[in-house]
């Protein structure tokens, strides 16, 4: 039994590490170029794969809300939704949506622009839900990354309880 790696093995380990870096970066060179140009700064969502999904700020979300130009979708759990949500938002919890979006829910939302949000900060559920909805046919999806936390802090209209209003 040899517990400590010999010099040879250390060199081999370094070689595998180096080779992985070379191949990994080389094989994804176009992604690296896009990354360096700033394409994936907001999210790792590929614009080519999800062209209809965009990211919006609080100001943009507020404008869409004021103009009633979009349906707001809350991607958090039902408990979080009940304890407070953006006024008029519908609740589509990510974990339940993964099992399939109800056809009537989809129909009610069709042709509308959607604004999806979750808690805010580091929450990733809104983006994951955006992907699912995009794949189920929605092509106009905006992800509001500031989410519930930013909306509430800004003192914008909110509601509590099970219904949107």
């Amino acid at each position: 039994m040899n517990f400590l790696p010999s010099k040879n093995i250390i060199w081999q380990v370094l070689a595998i590490l180096g080779l992985s870096c070379l191949v990994g970066i080389g094989a994804n060179f176009s992604l690296v170029q896009k990354y360096l140009k700033g394409e994936f700064q907001q999210s790792f969502l590929s614009r080519d794969k999800y062209p209809g999904v965009t990211f919006i700020s609080l100001a943009e979300a507020e404008q869409l809300f004021a103009q009633k130009a979009a349906t707001f979708i809350d991607a958090r759990s039902q408990e979080e939704y009940v304890s407070g949500h953006i006024l008029g938002a519908l609740n589509l919890p990510l974990n339940e949506t993964k099992k399939g979006v109800a056809a009537d829910q989809l129909q009610a939302l069709s042709e509308r622009s959607l604004v999806i949000y979750c808690q805010g900060g580091d929450c990733e559920t809104s983006e994951a839900l955006a992907k699912i909805l995009y794949e189920s046919g929605f092509k106009n999806i905006k992800v509001f990354q500031g989410g519930w936390a930013e909306w509430k802090q800004a003192g914008l209209p909110v509601a509590e309880g099970n219904g949107p209003q």
Binding site: M1, F3, P5, G24, V32, D122
Partner: protein
Amino acid sequence: MVRNKHLLFIFRLVVGGVFIWAGVLKIMDPLGFAQNIKNYRIFSHDTSFFLALVLPWMEALCGIFLIIGFWRRASALLTSAMLLGFIALVVITIARGIDIDCGCFGQFSRKLDYKLLVSDSLLLLFSLSIYFFKPKKLA
């Protein structure tokens, strides 16, 4: 001591196979994997992106090397190090109560839970055996 060369060969096939499988699935979707890494809320955006490009190739290369028997011990050392890292990540993530997919096998990933610790530990045991024990013919 595991000195049975047939057993050690099976260990190499199992660990190598799992790492090739895990690596290839992630190589096919680097951006999805970057998001999976970021979901752990430990690595920065840039680090997640870099790891997502490099780690899957490291997994696949080590897996291939283990199976063909090239740089066997170095590959086993690396897979052991990766598995230790994965185990640490799973423990930290469970302790922090973050509910995510593990991201281990691309789109076939399952929920991150304690069962993952069992399979990772088993692989680590196999992997360390490959590193530490020289295969010897049975008497």
